[in-house]
């Protein structure tokens, strides 16, 4: 119920704001049900407020995170991710259902193929996921997901990758921007002010009740986002390694004109 009120409030608040990114698509790729909301929930909600249409790709089946049996964990976490996505304004969730914490034997090529297909179908302008180059990332699901995404970002634009998808009606697609989040040290070059979306972010994280079982986590997360914000003269913030079209001083961006 509280979520409904929050959504209603959000809808009005969003109507009042300008939407500079109308028509753009955001795809978040999360290894587990809760990663995207914890590390980037505020930024995702903000981009959606600003006009993006948001989608979520969830890679694993989350069978090992929770106090229930593997089967029940998977079912509960799979339902809760839909709630979290809804709160952030995400339109649809695609679950790839790879085996949680046993992702190693899947080849990167195989995971990449699934991502290329979805990128070509959803046509993202921006993706957001784990940083494949962060240090001290001890969860192999995070790393493998990040590496496959990084690889899919450029291969989805090339016609020689998976021509069978082209035969089925998809077209090669290049995406423009990447946001990488991390829990270990990485090269941070973008801090996003999430003051307008922090409440929804925390609500989204809270909805992963099967995975976030300690109320303290929510308080700590809010505090961490607040501290990062203060360090950057913002209310609340999230940080990323960002890759866009390249240096603004380079030939390409200096000479490019609106289409």
């Amino acid at each position: 119920m509280r979520h409904c009120l929050l959504l209603l409030f959000t809808a009005f608040a969003a109507l009042a704001r300008p939407k500079p990114y109308e028509g753009r698509v955001l795809v978040a790729i999360t290894a587990h049900a809760d990663d995207f909301s914890i590390f980037a929930g505020g930024t995702i909600a903000k981009l959606i407020d600003e006009g993006y249409t948001g989608y979520l790709i969830r890679v694993t089946d989350d069978e090992k995170d929770g106090v229930l049996t593997a089967e029940e964990n998977s079912r509960r976490n799979g339902r809760e991710v839909l709630d979290a996505a809804k709160i952030l304004g995400i339109k649809e969730v695609f679950s790839l259902n790879l085996k949680n914490d046993e992702i190693d034997p899947y080849t990167e090529t195989e995971l990449r193929e699934k991502l290329i297909l979805l990128f070509r179908k959803l046509k993202p302008y921006t993706i957001i996921t784990f940083d494949p180059w962060a240090a001290y990332e001890e969860n192999p699901d995070h790393l493998k997901t990040a590496k496959a995404v990084e690889d899919a970002c450029w291969t989805s634009g090339v016609h020689l990758f998976h021509p069978e998808q082209l035969r089925a009606g998809l077209k090669p697609h290049y995406l423009v921007e990447r946001y990488y989040w991390a829990r270990g040290p990485h090269v941070v070059n973008k801090v996003v002010d999430i003051s307008s979306t922090i409440d929804r972010k925390i609500a989204a994280v809270k909805s992963h009740g099967g995975m976030i079982r300690d109320a303290e986590t929510l308080i700590e997360l809010r505090e961490a986002n607040k501290q990062l914000g203060e360090m950057n003269k913002m209310g609340y913030a999230e940080m990323f390694h960002f890759i866009g079209l390249g240096s603004p001083d380079g030939y390409v961006l200096k000479n490019a004109r609106p289409k």
Binding site: Y136, L160, H173, V252, K259
Partner: protein
């Protein structure tokens, strides 16, 4: 300081300690003193030796080496006060085909059995350590540390009465660059470490066969001063890597006069884009240069068929190599951009053969430790090259080559080029050969056409257009590629007061 003392005390009074050593010599070189101190303080120290060490020693048959290595590890472990050694006996230097999940299972079993408070092993985040067994073991240990404490992992162990167990702290050693935040003074147990080393004539040979590095350990000093062992304690400082090195040195291509260079270029155009100028200068200086091209480049074209793409790129790489002054191109022909299922050991074996055949003084390829490298082919070939450079000199690797009359050959010098952040320590001034570099890159007509038109596609998604690319004729493509190459060479040169430059990470194992 007090925190450091506390850490030391906590580490030294742990009740149970598991040391995971990729090879039979790693635990003693990097942690022998620490282990002796812990055992002396009353801790139960257990050793897990992962590989069978069959590649150690020269002149000793491989089967004999395995038996002797095991006995040496048992003897050294006894001297250090280790209670028990578990020999996992995986194949030395060939851990790659093993899934991480399987290796992790072994470690989970060990952790749940010995219930360690502290684990000591090799740092998976180290850079410029070119033995990838170390990385694989470190990574699986890191993963086992937390998965071992979760009852969702391996319910069959729960059924057998082996309960989940949480490891409290973990210490990582490394011989490469890593974030050292914990040092252990081993002066008082140095004699014990020396005795244990003396029990390992095969695994840690004395001079003259010992490497300079091993000699340091004999002397009680390592890379971090005398009588000290050094670690990264998990996440303690949160810095990604060790302190930066000194400024990059200006390098001279004439150093390569009379020498042989082998370039390992995963794709047809990698060498021209990142090192075309340096290669041209080395060739001019009298260096003999060969190039191994890793893949068949079947996916780099704009709207051509795979067959057409392969044949055009194969012809154009010959033009580029000739323009740069390369003597011969040898193509391995791996499937472009689908290298993931190919084993690292297989690629390394083919490179070892060619290194033994061509006997290069130096190899050149991508930096295996550069960050934000989005092409997995680059990383895979870079790692295989780094390992093949030393493994080619060890007669235990790919001994079938000797039937052809080849001999072991170590490649001493390595030049690594990069497109992401990396530890740059060599810079070449390529201003004098910049035109030759541009001509070399222009040879890759099919790839350049794809680069330009893919950029155009991407700009369209961003709602932009580049007037230069309104035309798509060869002259326009060349102009676009020239701009990109000059811009990169200028940006690299600017940092050193040069007009145009190329940058490398260089290593020399004299």
């Amino acid at each position: 300081m007090r925190a450091a003392l506390f850490l030391l005390a906590a580490a030294l009074h742990a009740k149970s300690v598991v040391v995971v050593s990729p090879h039979g010599d790693d635990f003693i070189l990097y942690a022998g003193g620490t282990i002796a101190k812990m055992a002396k303080a009353g801790d139960d120290v257990y050793l897990v030796r992962v590989t069978n060490d069959e590649k150690h020693g020269t002149k000793v048959p491989m089967e004999e080496a395995r038996v002797r290595a095991r006995a040496e590890v048992d003897a050294a472990a006894k001297i250090l006060g280790i209670r028990e050694v578990v020999h996992l006996n995986f194949k030395d230097g060939e851990l790659d085909p093993l899934s991480e999940t399987e290796l992790r299972t072994r470690f989970i079993q060990v952790f749940r059995t010995f219930k360690p408070d502290t684990v000591i092993t090799s740092d998976p985040y180290t850079r410029y350590d070119d033995n990838f067994d170390h990385q694989k073991v470190g990574r699986a240990v890191e993963d086992a540390r937390w998965t071992g404490n979760n009852n969702k992992f391996h319910p069959e162990m729960n059924r057998a009465g082996v309960a989940p167990h949480g490891v409290k702290s973990i210490y990582y050693w490394s011989r490469g660059d890593h974030d050292i935040n914990h040092r252990v003074d081993i002066k008082d147990v140095q004699d014990q470490k020396q005795q244990a080393l003396a029990a390992m004539p095969l695994l840690v040979p004395r001079k003259p066969t010992a490497t300079e590095e091993t000699f340091h350990y004999w002397q009680g000093s390592g890379l971090q001063g005398p009588y000290v062992e050094w670690y990264r304690q998990q996440l303690a400082s949160g810095k990604p890597y060790a302190a930066p090195k000194g400024p990059a040195l200006r390098a001279n291509a004439a150093d390569m006069k009379g020498k042989t260079l082998v370039i390992v270029s995963p794709h047809a155009d990698d060498f021209s884009i990142f090192a075309g100028g340096t290669i041209a200068m080395m060739a001019k200086a009298g260096c003999t240069i060969y190039m191994i091209r890793g893949t068949n480049d079947e996916k780099d074209s704009y709207l051509l068929s795979p067959a057409e793409t392969v044949s055009r790129n194969a012809a154009e790489v010959e033009d580029a190599a000739r323009t740069a002054g390369i003597k011969e191109v040898i193509t391995l022909g791996y499937k472009n951009d689908e290298l993931d299922p190919v084993s690292h050991t297989e690629i390394r074996g083919r490179l070892i053969m060619l290194f033994r055949l061509l006997k290069p003084d130096a190899v050149m390829t991508y930096d295996p430790w550069s960050l934000y490298e989005e092409n997995p082919d680059h990383v895979k070939f870079a790692r295989a090259t780094a390992e093949a450079a030393w493994a080619a000199g060890n007669d235990r690797f790919n001994s079938e080559h000797f039937v052809m009359g080849l001999k072991p050959h170590t490649v001493r010098e390595r030049y690594y080029f990069m497109r992401g952040p990396s530890d740059i320590n060599r810079v070449f001034d390529i201003s004098a050969v910049i035109d030759q570099k541009l001509r070399t890159v222009r040879s890759h007509k099919t790839m350049n056409h794809a680069t330009a038109l893919h950029l155009k596609d991407k700009l369209i998604v961003a709602g932009l257009r580049l007037p230069l690319l309104d035309k798509e004729d060869p002259a326009t493509i060349n102009k676009m590629i020239d701009i990109m190459i000059l811009e990169a060479a200028e940006a690299r040169g600017k940092q050193y007061g040069l007009k145009y430059a190329e940058e490398f990470h260089y290593e020399n194992y004299e």
